[in-house]
Symmetry: C2
């Protein structure tokens, strides 16, 4: 696996050890499009590493955050979700199905420019749009006025 090598290097470069758990977690967390929670990741990893603990998953995700490999999205009354798409983008968060979809759009850059114009030294961006995704809107007959 070539991606494994990338993670292993990223870890070692910062003095972290490349353990089997960390690599397994990276395989899922850094490729999944579903913005998994720590519990979700733990369940997944246990398929191949039955002994991993939730604590280890949390610790590993902290390391990944430090390495700039994931962003942590927190929500009221819900567990945090981890996003491996770290470039500026929009999170479309469906209030029905809880899916989160990343979309690229130039408005993300415009947000950054606006902050810089306000003399702010930008280190990161989080853009969430809450609402109903297309799938749920169709299913439930929620109609959308255009524009």
């Amino acid at each position: 696996m070539d991606n494994d090598a990338t993670i292993i290097n990223a870890l070692r470069k910062k003095g972290y050890k490349a353990t089997a758990q960390r690599i397994a977690i990276s395989r899922f967390a850094l490729t999944s499009r579903e913005h998994p929670s720590a519990r979700r990741i733990c369940r997944e990893i246990r398929d191949t590493h039955p002994t991993v603990s939730l604590a280890t998953v949390y610790k590993t995700l902290q390391v990944f955050k430090e390495l700039g490999l994931v962003n942590q999205l927190t929500f009221p009354e819900e567990e945090a979700r981890f996003d491996s798409y770290v470039k500026p983008h929009l999170n479309l968060i469906c209030e029905k199905c809880s899916n989160i979809t990343d979309i690229e759009d130039q408005s993300a850059q415009e947000v950054i420019s606006a902050a810089k114009n306000a003399r702010f030294v930008v280190s990161g961006v989080r853009i969430d749009v809450r609402g109903i995704c297309q799938k749920c809107a169709k299913r439930d007959g929620t109609f959308q006025g255009s524009k």
Copy 2:
């Protein structure tokens, strides 16, 4: 107080009672620019209502959220902060001093447009920019590339 009348009406319209605690909380939480946490609000309110409990503050903030009067901003490892500026805007979040500054910018509308173009039914937006505010950058000698 004219603002009090507004809150009282908003509460009653939805079947909530206009208690002294709720009015006191609204006076601070809905006018403060500092994005206070529940604890912060509780401390403030106790100056005039020494018996208010943190639980009441949390319950009241839930009501205000329901009424669309505040947004709740959650963060990793920190308490939630409440934002009474409910129109789409940018939150500039300083990682040094923890201050949050709201700024208006058209990029907020562009974010919404982008979501709509993706066939998403928008109900709310949260735009956070993390970094260092102008004050802290000056104080600490953090230099900013202009752009």
